[in-house]
Symmetry: C2
Subunit: 404 residues, 2 copies
DNA sequence: ACCCATAAGTTCCATTCGGAAACTAATACC
DNA sequence: GGTATTAGTTTCCGAATGGAACTTATGGGT
């Protein structure tokens, strides 16, 4: 319904065989999975191909259960049996289970005030298509219409994930400074306009979750993600779950003080971490207001002034890393973003900042810097859709979980 | 066993009725509970007396399930039916279920280099006895012996919780600066010496968990606990769970910079939050090195010098509160500790600090300041024992949880 | 006083789900 | 080719959960 499928011939003749899984829109409906099958799928999704025995061990399930559950997941087309991997010693070799990525497609959309970035991925969050276009307007209705247009170009997706730089609570964009939105029920609107289940979240939060499922932080119990771009952003995974503040904001560390005599910050004070790291502020301090790339070139060419600004930025980044590590003592700190060249040119100062801030042995911090393509933002939208689809957050209202 | 109960007459005649619950050591054995009964017990423990219907609603269980589970818990002596509470409108009144606190007792022990604090509580963490004595020695074996002596004075406890100011990982005291311990397997040692299942944890972590179950933060999804005493400590609850760093330390925010020209801090730098708040440092700045109480009197009497030191400390506390709130955006910030008079004498400056630091509306912060008796530390040890007993962490090895 | 609406708690029963035991399958090593 | 070893399967059973229908205890209306 809502899909204009009235004209499609009835398919009663299939129902008896394929039953529920195929009743709705052919390729794009997600089967309802109960808890254990969902956990099994997730385990394979996050930790790569695994044998039944391995999964049973990790999830503390019996092998018979795994036989049954795996069979069901294969029947639903979500898993496939891949190669068999011989044991190192004796014993029957394992049959590896893979996620059948092609089974579903997801659309991710990242909104900025100027442009819309889109990416289509398969179930394993591997990109299969991408698009980018100017945002026609910032008015909510028009943005929704534009997203629906994009969605029409990629039919058959199982879910849509939209991310933006604002405060998102339960699918409602409570506040977006850049788009100038207040209380926009984006999730409902896009779901209605496209007919496809949609999830909406803050971009940094979605990126963090994406890195935790599909990136270098896959499956870690604790993880800190720091994005360096036009500004800095932080996301935290604690106890295997994304930390969402009670008001929907991602954790922010960025106005922690580095040096009270530092540059003027947007927040009104001086010398916050973010005052050193915001691209705008950095460039403003340089003669002739170069672009970011020009500034980088100057640094690489040995320019003193630019070097100083980037060194200070690097130090501030180090302080940020150290502060985050002090607070949650994560298994890994992941550094991403378009501004990562900063780490490349002044990694030494970053480490100075860490050393001056972190209260334990800096070697304990597993720091991972990953270069970053801007389309990654859109991909993390798709990852958001995948996550919402699998956990069921996308269709049902989120379950109150009665965990400890 | 180990409790010297050999002389107590056998009670075969009861077994048929009370079955398992009474098979082992009479009053002090904890029945194994499966997940749902455990959740039900917890819900009543944390959220006060509740009716079956109410619990079923909260835990998303059916009413028949609640009938069954409640009956089992009543049989095991953990719950009792209390008063019936009439509906406001029509309908049969609810029968309230209470935790039968008297069913079990727990011993909490807090270790400091000079003294040992002990508290015995019932299952609801209500204190029933307390003791305090000098620590005979800091040597691990002697401390264990002393704890065993204390435990002998309070026979029949179901669990023991020991807390101290060090780094505790899985019952092993990896490092305690104050006691000068490294890698002391305290949990195993006390369990062996007393014959009672024992849990060990960092004191601030245990306090945080205690406040989250039995204090003003009961049952919140997110909570920050800030203790002000000889130093400052921080504990976090996120998503209903205690945040434990991957190396066992509680989160520390206390060396965040407030003012680079501030007092010298133990960490080598100047003007950290903790440099303003450590009692030692505060008193050192005052003429004649008064005691804490004397210093407080001076402030209340209007002494300029003391007022300044306490004002700065208050401001630093505000910065700490704001920083914590920025990071996890908790539902509540709970302020406790022996040093709480600070908040009383300079609450205005605390709020200034919050205002200058928190990036949203300070009114969103639900700040709760609770005066603090030192025996609270020991009580939180008992709460630790309760928590470990109920979650099963005390006997079995912690289950790998396969949650999302 | 009586009946009815309302909501709590219970009983009964069908169903689901996961683990134990015992099996088969596929390999390495001797 | 036999044996040890580990993966995966089948069969079966017990535990636990939720739906339907019931009983119980109240308030409110007539």
């Amino acid at each position: 319904m809502g899909l204009g499928l009235g004209a499609i011939p009835e398919r009663r003749y299939v129902r008896a065989v394929i039953s529920e899984a195929d009743t709705g829109v052919a390729t794009s409906s997600w089967p309802k999975l109960s808890e254990v099958p969902r956990d099994v799928l997730l385990e394979v999704l996050i930790h790569g191909p695994l044998s039944r025995a391995e999964i049973a061990g990790r999830l503390r399930l019996s092998r018979p259960t795994l036989t049954r559950v795996a069979k069901a997941l294969v029947q639903r087309g979500l898993l496939v049996e891949g190669d068999t991997r011989p044991r190192s010693s004796a014993g029957r070799p394992s049959e590896m289970l893979h996620v059948r990525g092609a089974a579903h497609r997801f659309l991710g959309v990242k909104l900025t005030p100027e442009r819309l970035f889109a990416a289509v991925t398969d179930l394993t969050a591997t990109p299969v298509a991408a698009a980018e276009e100017p945002l026609r307007s910032c008015a909510p209705e028009e943005v929704v219409a534009q997203i629906a247009d994009v969605a029409r170009r990629f039919p058959g997706v199982t879910g849509i994930g939209v991310t933006l730089g604002g405060v998102v609570l339960d699918g409602l964009v409570a506040w977006d400074e850049f788009l100038r939105w207040t209380d926009v029920p984006l999730k409902a609107a896009v779901t209605r306009a496209t007919g496809v289940p949609t999830a909406v979240d803050n971009d940094v939060q979605a990126l963090t979750a994406a890195q935790h499922w599909f990136g270098p932080g896959a499956g870690l119990r604790s993880l800190a993600v720091i994005t360096v771009g036009a500004g800095v952003g932080t996301g935290l995974i604690v106890d295997g779950r994304l930390v969402a503040g009670s008001h929907g904001l991602p954790p922010h560390f960025s106005h922690t003080l580095v040096d009270a005599k530092g540059p003027q910050c947007g927040c009104g004070r001086r010398g916050c971490i973010s005052s050193y790291l915001m691209t705008q502020v950095m460039l403003r301090r340089l003669a002739g207001r170069p672009t970011y790339e020009e500034a980088l070139d100057r640094v690489r060419a040995g320019d003193r002034e630019a070097g100083q600004v980037f060194a200070e930025a690097g130090y501030a980044l180090g302080v940020l890393i150290g502060t985050v590590a002090n607070v949650i003592d994560p298994q890994k700190v992941l550094l991403t973003g378009e501004g990562l060249p900063l780490y490349e040119v002044s990694s030494e100062l970053v480490h100075d900042g860490i050393e001056d801030t972190y209260e334990d042995d800096p070697d304990l911090i597993d720091l991972d810097a990953r270069p970053f393509d801007f389309t990654e933002w859109a991909r993390s939208g798709a990852a958001l859709a995948i996550k919402a689809t699998i956990t069921g957050a996308i269709s049902e209202r989120p379950q109150l979980d009665r965990r400890r």
